[in-house]
Amino acid sequence: MKKQDFVVVEQLKKTYRMGEVNVHALNDVTFNIQEGEFVVILGPSGSGKSTLLNIVGGMDSPSEGRVYIKGKEITNYNDKEMTLYRRNMVGFVFQFYNLMSNLTAKENVELATEICTDALNIDEVLDAVGLKERSDHFPSQLSGGEQQRVAIARAVAKNPEILLCDEPTGALDFSTGVTILDLLSRVNKEFNKTVVVITHNASIAKMADRVVKMRSGKVLENIKNDTPLSTERIEW
């Protein structure tokens, strides 16, 4: 393991049962992510990328293999350690925002920060995502893009070391999607957070420092991109 490796994934396998079917989601997945990188995990639907993200985020456990975060193996954490890991190290952004419908934008962010030890100033974060004026609105009063910005604010305000985003633009139109990607890029650079985005959209991969390509539960390629594009130049 290299010193600068932030995430190390070793020979990860995951099989789960869905209804009456066994799903082999991951099959011997190995790759590294370095601190401060903007990583895109690219693959079609069913390639195992969400499962991989969930395991790295401490939301799921592998059938086999190991995951190290900053040199510590998280795959042998017990439930309590895993909860603390999620609480203090990881921020999640989901495709369908997953906001609590009966809490306002600001309250949704506060919900996440209340249990953290080193949270950022909520107003500043909401300002940074451009939602200062709409912080008292409930999710139903916000557009899809605005809801996703609340979700990003919620993840960032915890001041996590790594931001894991599961198809963050999947439910958004092109221009809103670009705004969200721009926001994630700023989070990566201005807040100096490691950001992992999973997507099936190959265009997004162009803005990444690293691209991990997956298919059928396997890593096909792990490419370091020395010339990432800015978000304005991305199209799909």
Binding site: Y16, M18, G19, E20, S50, T51, N54, I55, G57, M59, D60, D79, K80, T83, L84, R86, R87, N88, V90, F92, F94, F96, N98, L99, M100, S101, N102, L103, E107, N108, E110, L111, A112, E114, I115, C116, S140, R154, K158, D166
Partner: protein, 783 residues
Amino acid sequence: MKKLNLRLYRTIKHTLGQYIAVSLVIIIGIMSYVGFSLAMINLETTVNGYYDMTNSADIYVELNRIPENALKFLYDIEGIVDIQGRVKDDFSYTDKRGVRGTLRVVSVPEDQEHAINNLYIRKGSFVRGNRGVMVVQPYAKAVGIEIGDPIDIQINGKTYKLTVEGIVSSSEFVYVIENEQTLLPDNEKFGIVFLEESFAQKAFGYENSYNDLLIKVDDEDKIESIIDALEKKLKRYGASRVISYKDQLSNRMVQEEINQGKNSAKTVPFIFLIVASAIIVTMITKIVRNDRMAIGILKAMGYNNAQLMGHYSMYAMGIGLLGGGLGIYFGLKVADFFAMLYVEFSFDIPMLVGKVYIEYVIAAILLTVLFCVGAGLFGSRRIMSIHPAESMRPDAPKVGKGIFLEKVRFIWENISFSWKIVMKNIFRSKKRFLFLVMGIALTYAITVFPMYQSLAIDQVFLQHYSTFQKMDYNVNFIRPMNESSLYDIKGILDTSEIEGKVEFPFKIEHRWKTKIINIIGVQPDTVFYNFTDEDNRPLSLPKEGMLLSAGLARILEIEVGDKILVNTFVPEREDKWVEVTGLVKQNLGSNAYMTMDYMQKNFMDSQLITGVYLDSTDDVKGILDDMKHVGSIQSVVDMQEGFKQFMDILYISIALMIGFAGILGFAIIYNSTIISINERRLEFSSLRVMGFSKNEIFKTVVYENIIMTLFGIMVGIPLASWMLGSIGDALSTEFYSLKIEIPNTIYFYSGIVTIIFVIIAQLATYERLHKLNFIDALKNRIT
């Protein structure tokens, strides 16, 4: 406020109807616990305090006559510390309104300060001299007697013009009833008057002697042995009844009431609390299921199981706080009210201890916490198994299977598509079906109870006073008379039927159990009694032996064919073993029955009777009032009128109970339906997309509820029947038996009432269904 709590607060606001409905059930549960418990403990403390204050007797003795100077020999019995003789007798009396009733005269000693059973003066003063009389308060109130009013009483043919000097209460007559058979007080027709001792002795012909004794002992544990000794010593004075204060009629009725109240405090609240926790468990289970993804998100944020279970349990805790807090508050209020009702209306007690026992309040809090938090934790237990990553994936579709009904082709092919959906919904959600069916069954059973209660009391009276006893009047003589006195009565009254009777108290023994009861001797072919066993098979009086009321037989563990020892109090008569030849269905009171000949021959003097039964349309009370030897005249019509007044009061409590059942039913059905609607938002939304109207969807919910109501009632009938059987056993006392035949109409009416509750709950859900935003339901994956 923590954001998780804020979310909870808003969830509660969103489900306010359900929240209030289940809180109401908790309120009733806790209110009835605190109310019943405190009322009964305060009543018990009040009664005991009143007994202490009035130096109440430990042993009561009734006898023919004992000279004053013979009392000193009784002090030889170890443990007796005080004896007070008195004269006691009943006589007919026409009050100032012209209403004839019975007054019981009791003499009191001049030295009230040290007297046993000393009187509490409500108004006026203690009698001094020959012309004063004190009247017990319930009678004075009912008849309108005031201090200074004249009372003319006839004793032994002589009229005494007396003046009311005091209106009093007596700890011996807290519950003023004439005898075991009357059961309910009739204060307008029966009262107690107290005369100064020497005057009473003279008027009743008991100069320097008594016919009644009150005894104090130094140790309660000695009472039984002292009674045995007294029975032996007093046999020569014609002791007919030597009883402990525990068996004294008024005290027994008071204790029965307290015990029943205590039993209610132990059962009724728990029914409500169990139902409430079942609803809470279901509500939270469903909320957790619907919130599966939200829980996953919260876990992804770093919330742990304890925090999340605490969050969902807080929902239940809130119900507990609201229900428990208001329940305790109202419980304290109704406790005072209940106790006051007893003291003011049922009993005659001049005091009331209204203490709040903090232990009951603490117990109420613990009960609320136990039931609500327990239900909350139990309902939210699935949180522990929700895996954040799995929760993000949609639930795997349920394994689809055909339902049983589809195989019954002639039914399946002949029902409409809507009914097919209804049937599939019912049979595929078996747990939901079961919960609703059980809820409706319980509502039904609880609705049956108050109806049964009113019917039971009605039937107890009806059965006793028209089916079992068939006489219009029951006349008791002051002392046993020759059988010829029956002809005297026949001579002055136009009677359609008249029979002599012998009624006398005896102590009966079976194994180690004893009881003092009135044995009644009647003609072998009596027309005034209809003896049947508990299965309504006719019984006839044996030439030798006796019939015994079934309730008493149960208490004494006597079966047909057993021989029991009858201890006679009649001087120069020996105790005798008598065979029980049948057990009589007797809902009110407990007696033994023999033929008059057998009773006279073995236990009394032949040709003596103690009263008559008769049927007549004459003014029996008016005519017989002038006969010297006539003591009391009980009219069945009077009994029935008293009973009707009692029923009017009872109807209020029955209405209250039906109201409680309604709240319970509403809470169960309303909550279940709302839960079901919330659970099926996506299903309903899909139906809307397919073109179903809101009313059509509501119709399928209604159809489902109709089927579940029918099933609920079908399960409710045996449940109610079992409950009534247990309650009949639990509430039957030595004085009355509530084991009655339950007519089908009760089940029918309860069914109607349950259906009304279902309809009300259904209407409340109609609005909810109409307000449901189907498009939102389709779009939103998280609550």
